[in-house]
């Protein structure tokens, strides 16, 4: 972890971010496959996420 930080990043903060990024990566991978399958069978085309509905 960045040792120039002035706050304590907390123990295990590096590891947990690695794990979470990994899980999110896998989730994204499956989402993409699912979207491809759906569009192959003529399902509704993936609509790009609505542009941040002004909160």
């Amino acid at each position: 972890m960045n040792i120039t930080a002035y706050i304590d990043p907390g123990s295990g903060s590096y590891l947990v971010q690695m794990i979470i990024a990994g899980i999110l990566g896998i989730a994204f991978y499956f989402k993409t496959i699912w979207a491809t399958i759906k569009s192959f069978f003529g399902g509704r085309k993936e609509i790009p996420k609505d542009k941040e509905k002004n909160e």
Binding site: M1, N2, I7, Y14, V16, M18, I20, A21, L24, E55
Partner: protein, 457 residues
């Protein structure tokens, strides 16, 4: 010129400090932060965030107020009219502050920079919207590193927001006890079991807590992180926070004015009297104490620059904030403050974050239909109410609700009447010692009276 001293809360970050000089807040940038500060300017990040009104603008001064060797430059930021603390905000205010932090994090990464801390104290409300005030929170981004402020962000934004969602919106007040963030260990105890079935809650709270408990601090070699990974976490946090919603609830107060006891004529008459006085007296700042759903704060907002609208009901304050945001009302600052338990001063030496009463100096106070709650509901003597109000304001618009009123009768139904001196005559006499009574008008067909008063010199 006397040397300036740093603000009591500005001691954590060696990059610089905030100080107060002749009534204005300044920020000193130290030599050690020079490179990061220049990167903030040169990357275009500062200009972009200021243009979007997400970051407080400042002007640079070539004046070493502190006469310190570490001085690099001095910033004079645009001043904030009224400073509020995260434990005075409602759910939607903290949520917007969290979304702003994440937005700035993402923009910073695009500009080769990152946020080195993520606390709600880096944010203030200006013209109804959250604005990032800590210009020294940015540093150059090393894309082999994860986000150093991830734990801080989780504990000081995500945990309180989740406690609101899964428990109750009043849980935000816990930030007063835990200003550095609510520890994950406690959060995992306090969140209900069902919250674990939400993937995001599981990852950011329960998993993080477990990993943190198990990990030792001297793990040596760590694989490199990446920009892609960090952006995926930031995007995930953004969609997680955006999706947080409070369950609709009905409190004693959020339907107060819809009740039949207080009929439409009463409310309309009261509004026309108050609006008449607001037109007559030019004021800049108003405190609406016990604002409820903000009916009179909204009326006051058309006559003043800033209306601080306080109430002890979390749902009322949240609805008022959401209403102001939707209607573009930039004058009202709704805050979750109980006038009987105003925010104390907190932090190191009780000096970091000042008490509500010491921050609150306004031109006018609206104290409408709260006197009976203070005197009969909380046993606060009339004398003390008058004294406190006279320390806050020059003009006072106050409504007296006598014992003959149906609401007061209800309050006295189940308790002994220990208030023989609660009469309009005694009220006038006591308030006359601190205020000059300018006008007195009876409201509608009720027993209630409105008073316009001016503080005696």
């Amino acid at each position: 010129m006397n040397k300036v001293r740093n603000h009591p809360a500005s001691y954590r970050d060696p990059s610089g400090f905030v100080f107060l000089y002749e009534g204005k807040y300044y920020r000193q940038v130290n030599q050690c932060y020079k490179d990061d500060y220049q990167a903030l300017k040169q990357s275009g990040l500062y200009n972009q965030l200021v243009k979007e009104k997400k970051l407080i603008p400042h002007i640079e001064l070539d004046k070493n107020f502190s006469q310190s060797d570490e001085w690099y430059c001095t910033l004079l930021p645009e001043q904030i009219t009224f400073l509020s603390w995260p434990y005075e905000w409602c759910f939607s205010q903290l949520k917007d502050a969290a979304l702003l932090t994440l937005y700035i994090l993402k923009e910073a990464i695009q500009h080769g920079m990152i946020l080195k801390d993520a606390t709600p104290f880096n944010i203030q409300f200006k013209n109804g919207r959250p604005v990032f005030i800590d210009t020294l929170s940015f540093e150059k981004y090393d894309d082999t590193q994860p986000w150093v402020a991830y734990r801080q962000f989780t504990e000081s934004f995500i945990v309180p927001l989740l406690l609101c969602v899964y428990r109750s919106p009043e849980m935000l007040k816990l930030l007063q006890a835990y200003p550095d963030g609510i520890p994950l260990k406690l959060a995992s105890k306090w969140l209900p079991l069902r919250s674990r079935f939400n993937l995001n809650v599981f990852l950011h709270i329960f998993l993080q807590n477990k990993v943190s408990e198990k990990s030792n601090r001297n793990s040596a070699a760590q694989p490199a992180f990446s920009r892609k990974k960090l952006l995926s976490i930031a995007n995930n946090l953004l969609s997680f926070v955006s999706g947080m919603q409070l369950k609709p609830i009905r409190t004693i107060w959020n339907n107060y004015y819809d009740e039949t006891v207080l009929n439409e004529k009463y409310v309309n008459d009261k509004r026309s009297v108050v609006e008449g006085w607001l037109k007559e007296i030019p004021v800049k700042t108003i405190l609406d104490a016990g604002t409820n759903t903000g009916l009179f704060a909204k009326a006051a907002a058309t006559h003043a620059e800033t209306v601080i609208a306080i109430d002890s009901d979390a749902d009322c304050i949240n609805s008022l904030y959401v209403h102001c945001k939707q209607t573009g009302n930039t004058c009202i600052l709704p805050l979750l403050i109980d006038i009987c338990q105003p925010t104390p001063s907190t932090g190191w030496h009780n000096e970091e974050r000042s008490a509500f009463i010491s921050r609150c100096r306004v031109d006018m106070v609206l104290a409408l239909a709260i006197i009976h709650h203070l005197v009969i509901g909380k046993n606060v003597p009339l004398q003390q109410v008058a004294e406190t109000l006279s320390t806050l304001t020059d003009y006072l618009v106050i409504e007296f609700v006598p014992k003959e009123d149906v609401k007061v009768k209800q309050m006295l139904l189940q308790r002994k009447d220990i208030f023989p001196h609660y009469t309009v005559k005694a009220f006038e006499d006591i308030f006359s010692s601190s205020f000059e009574i300018l006008q007195k008008i009876k409201v509608g067909e009720t027993e209630r009276s409105l008073f316009l008063m001016k503080k005696k010199n």
